[in-house]
């Protein structure tokens, strides 16, 4: 029996003009790991919500067709009844943990379903051991980091050993290390428990290698249902924004696409196209050498900034940075490394406990959640027309719309316009904290282009090496509140494991190349014999 069956399912949210899902028919077999791909608004999240019964029971709306989960028809069984056969993990770790301690959180679902006390205790211990969170069992959920919360939420979804687990961008708020850990755990659960997995993820290069199959949505319908390689072939023709960097590189070299770094390297090696040699990048320049190099006046400068919490840890340790006008800087590091705190100091929201911050003018700061900036009922009330235009929103057509009716990407642009403000009060430097969370590759590329065209310096805290490679000319890597690497984007991102682009990992850091376009341009020059088709970035 299939673990999930969609039979000609169409669905429209209450009051919506158009259906979000249109005539979706597919099945998922036990033990399959299925990646759900598609641009923002393509219907992926709604598809996942239909698979766990939230659509239509929680959201209402117009529903046609039939969804069956492990033999249970979702029209007759609501999300509560389905919770024994399908586990769910959403994006935001904060909202999906409801109890005060990890042990209670893991037990909550089983107790709701009436399991005996002994069965609950045993299942909680076992899932904690399996997910390596046994040491967290008696911790308060309020104390956990984002990565820990997400692992606990995964445990809560898996504790009842569901036949199917659906995950909606579970790594979007995690740093690359925590994201990879979570995906590794998923893979283990898939292999050890035979749990079928539906994983929706924008950063496809992180998960395609583990997938058995990819279902791509476009305008609410299934546009592609194939193996990862088949999906990449389809994306190369029909949806280039869904192509992974590795697939773009291979396509440019005339190779069939391969999912994952290992397979891509093998394919290039077999074809004699994998550059190998002594071209590994040197170590990133130190902060001091970079400071000496730059003599131009700074747009933003931090002088030995410390941030020490009263009765708490040190968040920033002696951070000295100099950002010159026009510079594009990516600030990277794990969750808790101090990136957000550094940006808050730059914008004057925090005062250093030691050291000082100097600026050449106003520093604009766009925090992680754009909704926090949107408080009015009309777009025109939020930001001046010139800022809207600068942020890529048409001041005329958007003026009367309600900010909360905009798409995620549009809201991000509107919040950016709010921070940009009036021309008379232009920011000397603009700081953005994780602006690409939950964005698809097309929106990210558009944001990178937008930021490239802004006047002044731009500093972006990001977990996304691909975005950093496309936007920045300098990368600052933070760890435990201190700057551990600071240099040109190629030097810092080419040699890393977690903080590296897929292209750099495929090429092993060769010539500090980060993007397929750079790779193809470089490979085309010295190796005239290799057929190269340079794609449009």
């Amino acid at each position: 029996m299939s673990v999930l069956e969609f039979d000609r399912v169409s669905y429209a949210y209450p009051g919506a003009d158009h259906p979000v899902l249109t005539d979706v028919t597919l099945t998922v077999e036990p033990g399959e790991l299925v990646v759900v791909a598609g641009a923002s608004g393509a219907g992926k999240s709604t598809f996942l919500r239909a698979a766990c019964g939230l659509v239509p029971h929680f959201h209402g709306g117009t529903f046609a067709g039939r969804v069956t989960v492990a033999g249970l028809d979702t029209r007759e069984h609501g999300p509560g009844a389905l919770s024994g056969v399908v586990g769910v993990l959403f994006q935001d770790p904060e909202s999906q943990v409801v109890m005060g301690t990890v042990r209670a959180e893991l037990a909550f679902g089983l107790e709701n379903r009436g399991h005996s006390a002994a069965a609950v205790a045993r299942s909680v211990e076992e899932i904690a051991l399996a997910l390596r969170i046994a040491d967290l069992l008696d911790r308060s959920t309020a104390e956990l980091s984002g990565g820990e919360l997400q692992r606990v939420a995964l445990g809560a979804a898996l504790v009842g050993r569901p036949a199917l687990i659906v995950l909606d961008e579970p790594t979007s708020q995690l740093d690359p290390v925590a994201g990879d850990e979570l995906l590794g755990l998923l893979r283990r659960c898939n292999e050890d428990f035979d749990t079928a997995i539906l994983l929706c993820e924008h950063r496809l290069e992180r998960c395609l290698a583990a997938a058995d199959r990819v279902i791509a949505f476009a305008a609410g319908a299934v546009a592609c249902d194939s193996s990862p390689e088949g999906f990449l072939r389809w994306a190369g023709v029909a949806a280039p924004t869904l192509q992974t960097p590795g697939a773009r590189l291979l396509a440019g070299l005339g190779q069939a696409p391969a999912a994952g770094v290992k397979r891509a390297r093998r394919r290039l090696r077999d074809a004699g196209q994998l550059p190998e040699g002594p071209d590994s990048p040197g170590p990133a320049r130190t902060v001091a050498s970079r400071r000496r190099r730059s003599r131009s006046p700074a747009a933003l400068e931090l002088h030995g900034v410390w941030h020490e919490l009263r009765s708490g840890p040190v968040i920033l340790r002696d951070v000295s940075l100099r950002i010159v006008p026009g510079e594009r800087v990516a600030l990277m590091g794990r969750n808790g490394a101090g990136k957000s705190t550094l940006l808050r100091h730059a914008a004057g929201l925090l005062k250093p406990t030691r050291g000082r911050v100097t600026t050449a003018g106003r520093v604009g700061l766009l925090l992680q959640n754009p909704n926090d900036y949107l408080v009015h009922d009309r777009v025109a009330d939020e930001a001046p027309a010139v800022a809207l235009a600068q942020a890529g929103l048409d001041p005329v057509s958007f003026a009367e719309r309600h900010p909360r009716d905009l798409s995620g990407g549009e809201r991000q642009r509107l919040a950016l316009a709010v921070v940009l403000g009036d021309e008379a009060d232009a920011a000397a430097a603009l700081c953005l904290d994780e602006p690409t969370r939950g964005m698809d590759r097309g929106d990210k590329a558009a944001l990178a282009r937008l930021l490239a065209g802004l006047p002044g310096s731009v500093v972006v805290a990001t977990h996304d090496p691909e975005f950093a490679a496309g936007f920045a000319d300098r990368v600052i890597l933070l760890a435990d509140g201190a700057v551990i690497a600071d240099g040109p984007v190629g030097e810092v991102l080419a040699g890393g494991i977690y903080f590296a682009t897929e292209t750099a990992r495929i090429l092993g850091g060769w010539k500090s190349i980060l993007t397929p376009e750079e790779a193809l341009a470089t490979l085309a020059r010295p190796r005239a014999g290799i057929p190269v088709q340079v794609p449009t970035p």
């Binding site: 019964g53 939230l54 029971h57 929680f58 609501g78 999300p79 509560g80 009844a81 919770s83 024994g84 399908v86 769910v88 959403f90 935001d92 904060e94 909202s95 999906q96 943990v97 409801v98 109890m99 005060g100 301690t101 042990r103 209670a104 909550f108 679902g109 089983l110 107790e111 709701n112 379903r113 009436g114 005996s116 006390a117 609950v120 205790a121 008696d138 911790r139 308060s140 959920t141 309020a142 104390e143 809560a156 929201l349 106003r362 604009g364 700061l365 766009l366 925090l367 992680q368 959640n369 909704n371 926090d372 900036y373 408080v375 009015h376 709010v418 921070v419 403000g421 009060d425 920011a427």
Partner: protein, 291 residues
């Protein structure tokens, strides 16, 4: 203020015994009226909070209620006509008429205010030291939905506080004049509703909407009765017994009107010492309090 597991005897006790202890202290504050005994209970609550390593939090939060206590004292002094010792003649006041402030009414008002502060401090001690999840498990058979609502409210306080801080920071990042308070309030409400919807969806998929019969079968795992449970249950019983001895049984006679009569003999002092000792002695046993 939220619950966080700390290495203390009160945190190591079960939620039932711990809650009983906090409840007994609060009830004692309501039962006794002698100011010396009330001060002793206040000292006992503060001592217990320090013993539970939440003294700073409880004292800080209780200090926010001081204006409330002063308001009670002021109102009682203005509105009560009893008492023989006039300390201030205010003459004819609108609505109140001829008003004399008496020493007795002022002192009694201060006692009422102190009582309110002590009862609120007991609530703070409960919030900071009693595991809400364990309370949910205890109360589940009685009223699952009410207990879950209380637990969720406790869990959501720090989340919503972080949301509010983020919203405030975002507004500080806006160039130009800040939005009005009404605009911000509307935005904050929308944010809270978004958060509530997210949590509601999570509760649904975690089986909260499953059949009631299923939930009734689920009983919390039996937790062994440890040395701290016994100590705090015993302390609660002693505190209540002493309070009843002092109050309804007449051990500490106190009357405010017409003249102040405060029991301050050896019996009252012994009761006061007993109350403090009963409340803080369970904290002397430090065995098995680790996390």
């Amino acid at each position: 203020m939220t619950y966080r597991r700390r290495s203390s005897p009160l945190h190591s006790a079960g939620a039932g015994a711990g809650a009983l202890f906090c409840l007994a202290l609060g009830a004692a504050a309501l039962i006794v009226s002698d100011p010396i005994l009330l001060a002793a209970i206040a000292a006992a609550v503060l001592g217990a909070a320090i013993g539970a390593r939440v003294g700073g939090e409880v004292a800080r939060t209780a200090s926010f209620t001081l204006p409330f206590a002063v308001a009670i004292a002021g109102l009682n002094a203005l509105l009560t006509r009893d008492g023989l010792t006039v300390i201030m003649r205010l003459g004819d006041l609108p609505l109140l008429g001829s008003t004399d402030v008496t020493l007795e009414a002022t002192v009694y008002g201060l006692i009422l205010g102190l009582r309110a502060v002590v009862v609120i401090a007991c609530g703070m001690l409960y919030t900071a030291a009693i595991d809400p999840d364990e309370m949910l498990a205890l109360l589940r058979p009685l009223s699952f939905r009410s207990a879950l609502t209380a637990t969720l409210a406790t869990r959501m306080v720090p989340v919503l506080r972080r949301d509010a801080r983020r919203l405030a920071e975002a507004q500080r990042c806006r160039p130009g004049p800040p939005p009005s308070r009404a605009t911000l309030m509307r935005a904050a409400t929308a944010g809270v509703l978004d958060r509530a919807l997210d949590v509601a969806a999570v509760l649904e998929v975690r089986g909260y909407g499953a059949s009631g019969a299923g939930r009734r079968r689920g009983r919390p795992r039996h937790r062994p009765w440890n040395r701290h449970d016994a100590a705090f249950a015993m302390a609660a019983a002693v505190v209540l017994a002493l309070a009843l001895t002092a109050g309804p049984l007449g051990g500490a006679a106190f009357s405010a009107y017409p003249g102040l009569e405060v029991g301050s003999g050896p019996g009252v002092l012994a009761l006061a010492a007993g109350l403090v000792a009963a409340a803080v002695l369970p904290f002397a046993d430090r065995r098995g309090i680790g996390r």
